[in-house]
């Protein structure tokens, strides 16, 4: 690909080659496609499918928590035997619901759905590449994910139930089928599914990194890359380093489960017999799990923050404040993400000295996070804000990121974590900071890039209504959970009536459940808007948000290869909004400084001399290769 060529290739040649690519069968074009845009859509539809499943599960267990005395007989047609004789949710099935909700939301929706959709879609379009570095690996990545989804989905329907030991699947509970029925076949399927999922993530991640490093268009230096791409790059690096550790944790667990090894098992007496396993450590699993598990939080969150940076700058009509600080803080967060994992384990019996080290490291991560929040707020300051649905969701994201992030300062403090560990305070914290914030990143991204995905617009009014109902709903769900957490209520409890200390707050739990159902229902506005607009939405303008990034220089329905002619070179950073002196309030990245003398800053006039150099650069255009 790196052959030396001049950039004088005529566009006629491209059109010819372009035609060559059109001769794809239906199967290759829409199913086993190697086109990043199609794969992104596949991820998007899968992510939305999983989000509906995952959210429905949470509604089920919220029914149990909010209305403990309600008979759920009416759910028997769907849940069958999981409704017990008295018309209540089965106790183990409750745990299965919690487990699958967590697994689905964290991995299948917010990792695959968010990162898979937008990394695939935006990386080639925003760095100016024809496609991913390897379309084939990219296709494999999706289909491995699909296979893993099928396995996970099938585990919902087996007789012994899906995995039920919490999404963190701590052994020995997850290793011993005699401990709970979900640790039987359900757990086997969970582990198989996750192993394949990790393969998919690695294939995707390698591709994202390679594409960003090697396939940037002429002039697209790292210091001119949109923050979305920075976020996706760092996310992919995080995943590439941490997911293999989860794979090894899962493999050792598979060995313990079916080959009689003792990596995690020791001195266990269960089901009337003493197991022979000696010398293993359940804590080892927790270390390995959280070595992925903590970076995973940022794997979920960083793409959302990247998307938000782009959307906020575009719709505030202002450059993102502190572009370099944003990159630096993302790099800081990405680095620190690897050395804070044990703050999930302060009270697991880990050496207390280790606990204090991890407390120091954990609270450092608050600093780059705070910088990001301040930068977002300052970007709004003296802007000219257009409230597109995407912008609303981005502002909502910043609010969740702040509100949820702040309680992390409490939980990261090991002395305070003693009381709050594994209570609803933790549930409230991470649902706001990573769950709701990342979900808002996904929704913002869908609203913002919908015109590029489908060439049509979503209905903005429905988008506004969807935002307000969801934004208010999420705060109504998760804000009260802090109170329940401060009162000490433990997580993953089927019911709170056993304890005197936890018998209060019955009405608050009911309130939360009603709010959850309300928020869930509001999502159907989005679904309707989404599917309706794919077919019947208004035809989009080429650059509907007056944005600077390269994806808006492609045709309305970019074909294979994205740009019909040459890939445009890039001369400036992506945030030249409302530049003083400029005629328009945005100057796209592909507009050279020589064309905008009226708005150039002094040092930018010097860059005009470099334009010839940029244009003459050799770059990796896959389409220039003879086939």
């Amino acid at each position: 690909m790196a052959t030396v060529e001049t950039n004088a290739a005529s566009s006629a040649v491209h059109v010819e080659e372009h035609d060559h690519h059109e001769e794809l069968s239906f199967l290759r074009k829409y199913v086993f496609s190697e086109d990043h845009k199609t794969i992104a859509k596949q991820y998007m539809f899968s992510g939305i499918f999983w989000a509906i499943i995952g959210a429905s599960l949470s509604v089920l267990f919220r029914l149990q928590l909010g209305f403990p005395n309600m008979t759920l007989e009416w759910l028997r047609p769907i849940l069958g035997g999981w409704i017990d004789e008295s018309g209540k949710l089965d106790k183990e099935f409750y745990l299965a619901l919690v487990t699958m909700h967590g697994t689905i939301m964290v991995f299948f929706v917010l990792t695959a759905g968010l990162s898979g959709t937008f990394s695939n879609f935006l990386i080639p379009l925003q760095v100016g590449a024809r496609d991913m570095a390897s379309g084939f690996l990219n296709m494999l990545s999706y289909w491995f994910f699909f296979l893993s989804s099928v396995l996970m989905f099938s585990s919902l329907f087996i007789e012994t139930g899906p995995a039920s030991g919490g999404w963190v699947i701590y052994p020995p509970l997850s290793a011993l089928p005699q401990a709970m029925s979900g640790s039987g076949l359900g757990m086997t399927l969970w582990l198989m599914s996750m192993a394949i999922f990790i393969v998919s993530q690695l294939l995707g991640g390698i591709n994202y990194i390679t594409t960003v490093i090697n396939l940037r268009t002429r002039g697209m230096s790292f210091s001119k890359m949109p923050l979305t791409i920075w976020a996706f790059l760092l996310t992919a690096i995080l995943g590439l380093i941490s997911f293999p550790v989860l794979l090894s944790a899962a493999l050792l667990l598979i060995f313990d489960r079916s080959m009689g090894t003792s990596f995690y098992l020791s001195e266990i007496y269960i089901g009337g017999e003493a197991l022979p396993n000696i010398g293993g450590s359940p804590i080892l699993f927790q270390h390995l799990f959280w070595f992925l598990g903590h970076p995973e939080v940022y794997i979920v969150l960083l793409p959302a923050l990247g998307i938000t940076s782009e959307i906020i700058a575009t719709n505030a009509r202002k450059p993102i404040f502190g572009y370099r600080a944003m990159i630096a803080s993302m790099i800081g967060i990405a680095f620190l993400a690897f050395i804070v994992w044990a703050h999930h384990m302060f009270v697991t019996g880990m050496n207390p000295f280790l606990g204090s080290i991890f407390m120091f490291l954990t609270l450092i991560i608050a600093v780059p996070s705070a910088v990001k929040a301040f930068n977002y707020i300052t970007t709004l300051w003296r802007g000219n804000i257009v409230f597109t649905p995407a912008m609303l969701f981005s502002i909502g994201l910043v609010s969740f990121f702040i509100s949820g992030g702040l309680t992390g300062i409490i939980l990261g403090n090991s002395a305070l974590d003693i009381q709050l560990h594994d209570t609803y305070f933790v549930v409230a914290h991470f649902h706001l900071v990573m769950g709701a914030a990342s979900a808002f990143g996904f929704l913002a991204g869908v609203y913002h890039w919908f015109p590029k995905f489908f060439g049509r617009m979503m209905n903005p009014t429905l988008g506004h209504i969807h935002f307000w109902l969801t934004f208010v709903g999420i705060y109504l769900v998760f804000f009260p959970l802090h109170y329940i957490g401060i009162a000490g209520f433990p997580r993953r409890y089927y019911s709170f009536t056993t304890y005197e200390a936890f018998r209060t707050f019955g009405d608050l739990n009911m309130f939360v459940s009603i709010a959850a159902i309300f928020t869930f229902t509001a999502q159907f506005i989005f679904l309707w808007n989404f599917f309706y607009s794919i077919f019947k939405g208004k035809k989009a303008a080429l650059n509907p948000w007056n944005s600077n990034t390269l994806e808006w220089t492609t045709p309305l329905h970019p074909g294979h290869g994205n740009w019909p002619g040459e890939i445009p070179p890039v001369y400036r950073w992506p945030y030249d909004y409302s530049k003083p002196g400029a005629t328009s309030d945005f100057i796209p990245q592909n507009v050279p400084y020589s064309q905008t003398p009226e708005s150039n800053l002094p040092h930018e006039n010097a860059l005009i001399a470099l334009e010839k150099e940029i244009e003459a650069q050799n770059y990796n255009d896959q389409f220039k290769q003879p086939h």
Binding site: L95, I385, A415, H421, Y483, E500, N546, S578
Partner: protein, 374 residues
């Protein structure tokens, strides 16, 4: 509470419908053009959305304040242990710091959204960076963080240091789905050895009778008694899967891990009786819960904790029969050389009644074998 949700959702529903109706009329005026940045920015909906952010902040702040005040009556009462009161103070200190940050940042976010909404023929300020400002808001959180970390670290260090010499060691063992306690007994102050392979129906803790310290050990499964104002060291283990000892009022939490004994020591300084008077609830009981998911009965692993003064504790302890006395058939497991020492724990037919003065003499012997208890 339910009224509140009804009210709030009604308010927002009305506002949403307002947006909808006004926007559709505006869109009709635009004559169905493709929506663009300008048309959307200039529309009524933009003003409505900006205004809603302001409303959201005001109503949200009021709702947050009201709900907090309302909910605080259900928070756990003040901790019944000195370390708990200390961490409670730190918690509320940190909470006030983050509440300030929470209110200020959210206020700015929503106010800016309202204030700087799109105006026709207006241009945003090109303001890409300000190193001084960035430096300030990097340093301030860093300093605040450092202070919080330092206070937290000191508390953590004190809580996790070695238990004092005079601490009463009690073993608490988690299993699906209840807790079992073992006391060192009245004759010596030591818990005997255990081995999970010795577990059977009667010997559910795997007490090792080759260790003479275990002869006088007392097991209890329905409630835990501890004396007030005396350090208590919980030696925590699990038989089957992970569990976690959680005593909410003591601010105590530590996982129970199969194969790896853990520990947590604390001082309870309010008796159950005192708490009954303080809370005005004559049925008040301290409770022990499980906070690590362990299976279908996870939510009901309840044990009560009774904190009483030293005298009533000693009285209670004296009434307890050692495990060996309750299970005399296990006398056969005692090795020959210790049979004589074990004899006094034999029930009814025992030659000598329990004599507590004989105990201290034997103390040194058991010390070498109890090492596996950590």
């Amino acid at each position: 509470m339910v009224y509140l949700v009804g009210l709030l959702s009604l308010v927002f529903l009305v506002l949403a419908i307002l947006v909808l109706t006004r926007l559709t009329s505006v869109l009709k005026g635009v004559n169905g053009d493709t929506p663009t940045q300008e048309s959307e920015g200039a529309s009524v909906s933009n003003r409505v959305n900006g205004f809603l952010f302001l409303i959201f902040f005001v109503v949200g702040a009021a709702a947050a304040a009201w709900s907090f005040i309302h909910a605080s009556q259900f928070f756990l009462p003040e901790a019944s242990s000195p370390h708990g009161r200390h961490t409670d103070n730190l918690f509320w200190l940190t909470m006030s710091v983050i509440t300030i940050a929470f209110v200020v940042t959210n206020a700015l976010l929503f106010y800016f959204a309202f204030k700087y909404q799109y105006r026709k023929n207006h241009k945003a300020t090109y303001y890409p960076e300000n190193h001084k400002l960035e430096l300030i808001w990097t340093v301030i959180p860093a300093v605040v963080m450092a202070l919080l970390v330092f206070t937290g670290w000191r508390a953590w260090r004190d809580i996790t240091k070695e238990a004092p010499e005079n601490a009463l060691a009690i073993e608490i063992v988690g299993k699906q789905f209840n807790w079992e306690m073992r006391y060192p007994g009245v004759d010596n102050d030591k818990l005997g050895n255990y081995n999970y392979k010795l577990i059977d129906a009667a010997n559910s803790l795997g007490i090792d009778l080759e260790d003479e310290s275990s002869f006088d050990d007392v097991t209890v499964s329905n409630e835990m008694h501890i004396p007030v104002n005396r350090p208590v060291l919980l030696k925590i283990r699990a038989k089957d899967v992970l569990h976690s000892v959680f005593i909410p009022h003591m601010r105590v939490k530590m996982d129970a891990v199969p194969g790896m004994p853990t520990r947590f020591w604390f001082v309870a300084d309010k008796t159950t009786e005192q708490m009954r008077n303080e809370t005005g609830n004559q049925n008040f009981k301290y409770e022990i819960a499980c906070t690590e998911v362990c299976g279908q009965g996870h939510f009901s692993m309840r044990t009560t904790l009774i904190v009483e003064d030293e005298d009533s504790y000693n009285k209670w302890m004296a009434e307890q029969k050692p495990w060996l006395t309750k299970n005399p058939e296990y006398l056969a497991r005692v090795p020959e050389k210790l049979k004589a020492k074990a004899a006094k724990y034999a029930p009814a037919d025992a030659a000598a009644p329990a004599d507590s003065t004989a105990a201290p003499v034997e103390e040194g012997v058991g010390a070498t074998t109890s090492a596996s208890l950590r």
